[in-house]
Amino acid sequence: MARMKFLCDSERCISCNGCVTACKNENEVPWGINRRRVVTLSDGVPGEKSISVACMHCSDAPCMAVCPVDCFYHTDEGVVLHDKDMCIGCGYCFYACPFGAPQYPQMGTFGVRGKMDKCTFCAGGPEPDHSEEEFKKYGGNRLADGKLPLCAEMCSTKALLAGDGDIVAEIFRGRALNRGKGADLWGWGTAYGKEGVKPKSDKAKEGTS
């Protein structure tokens, strides 16, 4: 089975924020939360580069390793999802994540954290596919329809690729060969390790196939 990955080609990203908008529209994310964001480096000077970043769905996911209630799981396709019914809003995944993906709606009193929210790779959550509950908690489930995440699908320059890690890596390799530069895979070392292929602790739970 395919191992789903995100890939952002920093040679192509023009920081249009189309992916950010697409994500919000598709998933109707809670107020104040941005599952995806575009960061521009060397802004306004020669060598300016932009990168779109969200949850990278890591192989050895730090969020999963530190969660005190063990509410994270890898789907069969390597997507990192979590169960909001179990989440206690402790903030540990947010401490551990290198990409700053986990975020919390601030729920009033002293800024107490609500249920954590992050990118789902447009794969919904543990509820039945396309159920109302699933949409309310996690947003759309495009993967169940055989579609890829909307952020990547909407990307005007095809800088942001999502899908089978082997295929997106192959596309990127071709690009790097053609242009003769920009061969670095941003964030892949951090997210997928040296092997970068298979999730380490693959433990699909009930109702999540």
Binding site: V20, V53, P62, I88, G182
Partner: protein, 332 residues
């Protein structure tokens, strides 16, 4: 003609370039590689982004990995071992030494040891501590110990309860500590007799009698190291984590969490000793904090200098003169 003009123009432009630009070096041209980009990505420094929020401009924050390794590794492992060792040590000590019994029979005469207010502060501190310790231990060890027993749903329900209790009871603990500090600090100041207590380890092992003032050195250690130093460290690091709405970054919260966990484990270990000696470890100790009164025999055998001081004060009050000062008179 055209050709000459073109050459002249070319010559002029070449001159102009030579005049304006210093000799080309690697730094002047946009590099053909992305070294700068990768340095910026890994720097952990915020870059430009339109998304508002704390640290949204940071692409990779590497310290989270260190935090994970520390928390999931040594803090959990050695913290767990430490707790087990301390519990076992207390159990063995109780088995070998038994409770510290009173040698003389009870007199039936009671002495006031803790006022109602002092006891209230102590029990609010103790109560909040027990809630914080149990909910905190559940956050660290529950996943390994309790979750496999009760399952994800029940454990998550419990963990939500624990998290909210922990977050709301925490400030009460700090408040109690601060009040307790001002209440008890006077009697926890170093006295000459403490040196003797340290030399004989309070007579805990030998069973010999070591005179002490209102608080012996063991209690003073618990006061200064436990309550003041460790207690305040836990409270302050806990506040950093509890009030997440002050725009503090991940880095400070990662550090605070490790400090919080390490010091909390130390505090729990010390408190186990305190709870032991205050309950099953010593006859009559719990009465002092429960009722506020102790028997004169208990006072003489455990806090002899304080007992004598109180006796002198009572005698002075009864004879109508001013109470004696804290230090005993030379002839007594």
């Amino acid at each position: 003609m055209k050709r000459i003009l073109f050459l002249a123009a070319l010559f002029a432009s070449a001159n102009a370039i030579a005049a304006e630009a210093p000799p080309a070096s690697a730094q002047d041209q946009p590099p053909h590689n992305n070294v700068k980009l990768w340095q910026d990505v890994r720097s952990g420094q915020p870059q430009f982004t339109t998304v508002r929020g704390v640290e949204t401009g940071v692409l990779i924050q590497s310290r989270g990995e260190t935090w994970r390794e520390l928390r999931n590794g040594p803090v959990t492992l050695y913290g767990g071992i430490l707790l087990c060792v301390v519990l076992a040590a207390i159990a063995i000590f109780y088995k070998l030494r038994g409770a510290v019994k009173l040698k003389a029979p009870l007199t039936g005469r009671k002495m006031a040891r803790f006022s109602y207010f002092e006891r209230s502060v102590h029990w609010s501190m103790a109560g909040s501590f027990v809630i914080l310790a149990l909910s905190g231990l559940n956050m660290l060890f529950g996943k390994h110990l309790l979750l496999p027993l009760v399952g994800h749903e029940v454990f998550s329900w419990l963990a939500v309860l624990c998290k909210n209790l922990h977050n709301f009871v925490g400030p009460l603990f700090l408040f109690s500590i601060v009040v307790a500090f001002f209440l008890f600090v006077k009697d926890n100041i170093w006295r000459a007799s403490d040196l003797h207590w340290i030399r004989t380890a309070g007579g805990l092992l030998s069973g010999s009698h070591v005179p002490a003032w209102r608080f012996n050195f063991g209690e003073k250690f618990w006061f200064w190291i436990g309550l003041v130093f460790v207690g305040l460290t836990i409270s302050i690091s806990g506040f950093v984590l509890d009030f997440a709405n002050f725009a503090q970054g991940r880095s400070i919260m990662q550090t605070a969490n490790i400090i919080h966990a390490v010091f909390a484990l130390m505090f729990i270990c010390m408190s186990l000793g305190h709870i032991y000696i205050g309950t099953i470890g010593m006859e009559g100790a719990l009465d002092a904090m429960r009722t506020g009164y102790v028997d004169e025999t208990w006072a003489r055998e455990h806090h002899e200098l304080w007992f004598e001081e109180q006796q002198r004060k009572t005698a002075a009050r009864e004879s109508g003169t001013a109470p004696a000062s804290g230090e005993p008179a030379a002839q007594s």
